[in-house]
Subunit: 197 residues, 2 copies
Amino acid sequence: MRQAVDLKKAYRLLNHGPTVLVSSAYGDQRNVMAAAWSMPLDFDPPKITVVIDKNTLTRELVEASGEFALNIPARALAAVTEAVGNRSGRDGDKFAEFSLTTFEAEKIGAPLLDGCVGWLECKVIEERRNQDKYDLFIAEVVAAWADPCDFSNGHWHFESGRPRSIHYVAGGTFFETGEAFSVKEVNLPPPAAAFVD
Amino acid sequence: MRQAVDLKKAYRLLNHGPTVLVSSAYGDQRNVMAAAWSMPLDFDPPKITVVIDKNTLTRELVEASGEFALNIPARALAAVTEAVGNRSGRDGDKFAEFSLTTFEAEKIGAPLLDGCVGWLECKVIEERRNQDKYDLFIAEVVAAWADPCDFSNGHWHFESGRPRSIHYVAGGTFFETGEAFSVKEVNLPPPAAAFVD
């Protein structure tokens, strides 16, 4: 089951810094690549940034379509995440090669990947200098999705045994998203005044 | 013990998407704020991006000095991370309020915070449009540091019981950086050709 994520809360899908899969499509071409370098940029309307190298097929499809999706893979997709990060879509369709199944986005043409825990449909806000000089894309999030068992009301539910997101290091090594915890102000050192009276 | 991190590997301090503390200084003022929105932007020379809101004292100090540091807090600093993210340095020195101790950076004037697991000294690459329109800063990493017990040769050693980095969600809730794991290509579905012969 997938439900729409309130766009005002969409940034929270990315706030903890998971590695994402960037899916894209233009004409009869489609592609998917891995990106450890993405982050939220604004709350409302939600914007994100992502780095997409000039040499990638994804770059070509994103520049042509002005659209892409950030798919947040669960740990079961870690090997696929590593693999699609090391192959070019120019050498063959990665969806077929890795038996990836997809479903249709609502607002964009790029396919969304099954096996992920969240999805952000994005439209590029063209900033030529960033794109040309830094491979940096800014985009508005126009729709977002999650299974409410994984994410609802702006919070992840990994602690209930649901699949966790992942964080890429290098060379096929990842961290799983770890223990959730809350801090309270009472954990802080007492204000200096408490020592004075 | 702190050792310099090879600048070519400095991006790996941020690659897994930890929440950071941004420290800054100008004249006789200094400040520290929390930022969940930062990411690597380039490998060599290493560049990073971070979002610094217009209303913050940090923004003022960073614009004036052209410098800041990204400090990667360990879990023990989570309550402080939450607190410095909810207070303005204009209302009083947060280092004093939260008993934060610091040490000197090598290449910049901003102080570096004790209790962190990594530090990136950054010089702003001025991009006025990004700063003005998106609160987005691009900077070059000019020095980076870690205790080699926490991070060496481009890899974190959290699994050895060392303090872990943290990932902010919202409302005082964080994830700890979780289990490290490696994937191998053999975990992938076999190529379609294997089914054909």
